[in-house]
Amino acid sequence: MLNHSYLLKDLDILKQHLAKFYSMVQIEKDANGEERWTDQSDPDTVGLFGHKHLPSTSPKGFLFAEKEALYKFDGETFESITPQVVPKVLFGVQACDLTAIAYQDKFFKQDPYYQKRRENILLVGIDCESPCTNGFCAEVKAGPHVNDNTADLVVSRLTVNGSNQLAEWLVIAETEKGQNSIKGLPLDKAHKAHFILRNRLLDKMRSEFADYSYINNAIEYLNDNAVPQHLWEEMSVRCLSCSGCTNLCPTCSCYSTYEIAEKQPDNVISETKAVKTETLRVWDSCLFEGFQREASGHNPAQQAAQRVERFWFHKFSDEYLTEFQRYGCVGCGRCEQTCPGTIGVHSVMKRINQECCS
């Protein structure tokens, strides 16, 4: 890693360099003051770098599109619709969101639409410098520093409170793609001392997290099947099926499909006789009452308690470890922030911990 590590005085130099080859995607405030991942960002706009700001949205949609056309029908045959992509750089992605992308890379390994977008994206990760409001990445091994092999480039600020005179930023090229992306930039090589400093900052930051031990306690209870039915029922009463958690969750991947048809001539009555149609997919949510409901009316997840339990099972069950080598939750805490019924991750895990401890 040392061989591919560099020093940088000003992050803007790197950003302007990458902007020559990639369309810039970074965190900006929208008109309502919400911090969001923003496409086609002007590289002269100062991004709200992730080390201070966990944006309310994750960059999930740049890989697994919120809505996209899959294929079209011309009346006789079906034809794939390949996503139109341009090379993009996601500049300043936090460790939690990078871990989520690595998770989705596995889930969508065989999905041609996801992969088409993915191969055109350069990931520039950024080490966080302080815990964010609801984040518990350290508890689920997703951060706070960027995990190995989750980004093409990692930038890490080395001067904190003026404690370092060596350089402002450490830049690590983790992949060949990352290495190629900084070709032509005159950068000094980093030394072992810079990595030691990076680690020291990581240790310091780890100690600044609140005590989130209830999360891992609750994970154990969940996997022991020790959470009583009545608790799922009590919590599920608070679920409004708004899909806030699943939309904001950077690892949620469920989708539904729907069809759009070209307007038909008046003399054709049947919907199915449409001359041209497109099949699209759109993010779906396992918390919706009808997510599993079949045409017959049979619904294997009829009870809200089943759906709420399912969501947390998918995030924290050991059963997924073989496939993904980690839990589905990356500790970003967005579900806690958004859930109007206060059954986001902290609330749920605290209640499970309290209930099962007593």
């Binding site: 899959l70 294929y71 029908f73 006789e76 045959t77 079906f78 034809e79 794939s80 889930f107 969508f108 065989q110 999905d111 041609p112 639409y113 099947n225 959470v227 009583p228 039915q229 799922w232 029922e233 991947s253 469920c254 989708y255 539904s256 499909t257 729907y258 069809e259 048809a261 049947s270 919907e271 199915t272 006789k273 449409a274 149609t277 099949t279 997919r281 779906d284 396992c286 997510f291 599993q292 409901r293 079949e294 045409a295 017959s296 009316g297 049979h298 619904n299 294997p300 997840a301 009829q302 009870q303 308690a305 089943q306 709420v308 339990e309 399912r310 099972f313 069950s317 059963e319 997924y320």
Partner: protein, 282 residues
């Protein structure tokens, strides 16, 4: 890479086969089946403008690649499908999922319990066993709501002389055949040669669970019972997430599950263990 875009099939034959049910014959258009289709596997149909959904093969492709499906009109998509005519084209993705454990049939005595449209996913199994001169080892217990609701009329007529066929109706049958198939299960086992070695069941999930329980109570192992579950699907290849059974997807690990596997999946979630759905034929 997975292929989500369907291939084109053409409807070559349609006939009525039970109340609100039709039997379709499809023919590939511009492609040949490049993978062998296992009995109990399924395919996704895309109805342009209406959507996509999973259906089962009631016959495997013939020399022209033609295959059949029994479909009941239960929703918007099937309503649209029923408005189509011979010659109309649709989208097809298949074969998908894991079917019945044919390799385990060997010389075993097979009991098949089907409810409603649940007869469709076992049809290829019955034909397979008959074609392999194993018809004598097969007992089919088939339950339906009433006479009109029974499906696969031609097939049942063909099977009648080759396997042991018992039919029950919720309404309109004599005492010996009235009620749910589960009510006749023990009697059927007793009358037709005792405990089977392997049980396949397909129908309402509550029915399948009851069938499994009765068989296990009678002395079978839970690993001797297989069921084919129905789930809503939007892809058929393990991506859309709709067809979950705990940490498995019915489109990949299923739709045919060995009962002990199905149980241990369901037991992973407290609320699912508690919840018993209603008995409802499709």
């Amino acid at each position: 890479m997975l292929q989500l875009t369907p291939q084109t099939i053409r409807i070559v034959n349609i006939y009525d086969d039970g109340t609100n049910a039709k039997h379709f014959t499809f023919e590939p258009k511009g492609f040949v089946h490049d993978k062998p289709i296992g009995i109990g596997q399924f395919f996704m149909l895309t109805l342009p403008g209406a959507g996509l959904a999973p259906f089962t093969y009631t016959s495997l492709p013939d020399e022209n690649g033609r295959f059949n499906a029994l479909i009941r009109k239960v929703g918007r998509l099937t309503e649209n499908l029923f408005s189509l005519k011979e010659g109309d084209v649709l989208g097809y993705n298949g074969p998908l999922g894991n079917g019945w454990p044919v390799e385990q049939f060997e010389d075993k005595k097979v009991l098949i319990v089907a409810g409603g449209c649940g007869l469709a996913p076992v049809a290829t199994t019955i034909d397979y066993l008959i074609n392999n001169n194993r018809g004598e080892s097969v007992t089919l217990l088939y339950g339906a709501r009433d006479l009109g609701s029974q499906v696969l009329t031609k097939e049942r007529a063909r099977w009648q002389t080759k396997i042991t066929l018992c039919e029950t109706l919720e309404e309109g049958a004599d005492n010996a055949h009235s009620g749910l198939p589960t009510q006749h299960l023990l009697q059927t086992i007793k009358e037709y040669g005792g405990l089977p070695s392997i049980v396949l069941t397909c129908g309402p999930e509550v029915m399948m669970k009851a069938v499994a329980k009765t068989c296990i109570d009678s002395g079978l192992q839970s690993s001797d019972v297989w069921m084919s579950v129905e789930r809503r699907m939007r892809c058929g290849v393990g991506l859309c997430g709709h067809c979950y059974v705990a940490n498995s997807y019915a489109c990949k690990q299923g739709p045919a599950y060995r009962y002990d596997d199905y149980l241990s999946l369901n037991n992973k979630m407290v609320s699912t263990q508690q919840h018993q759905g209603a008995f409802q034929y499709c």
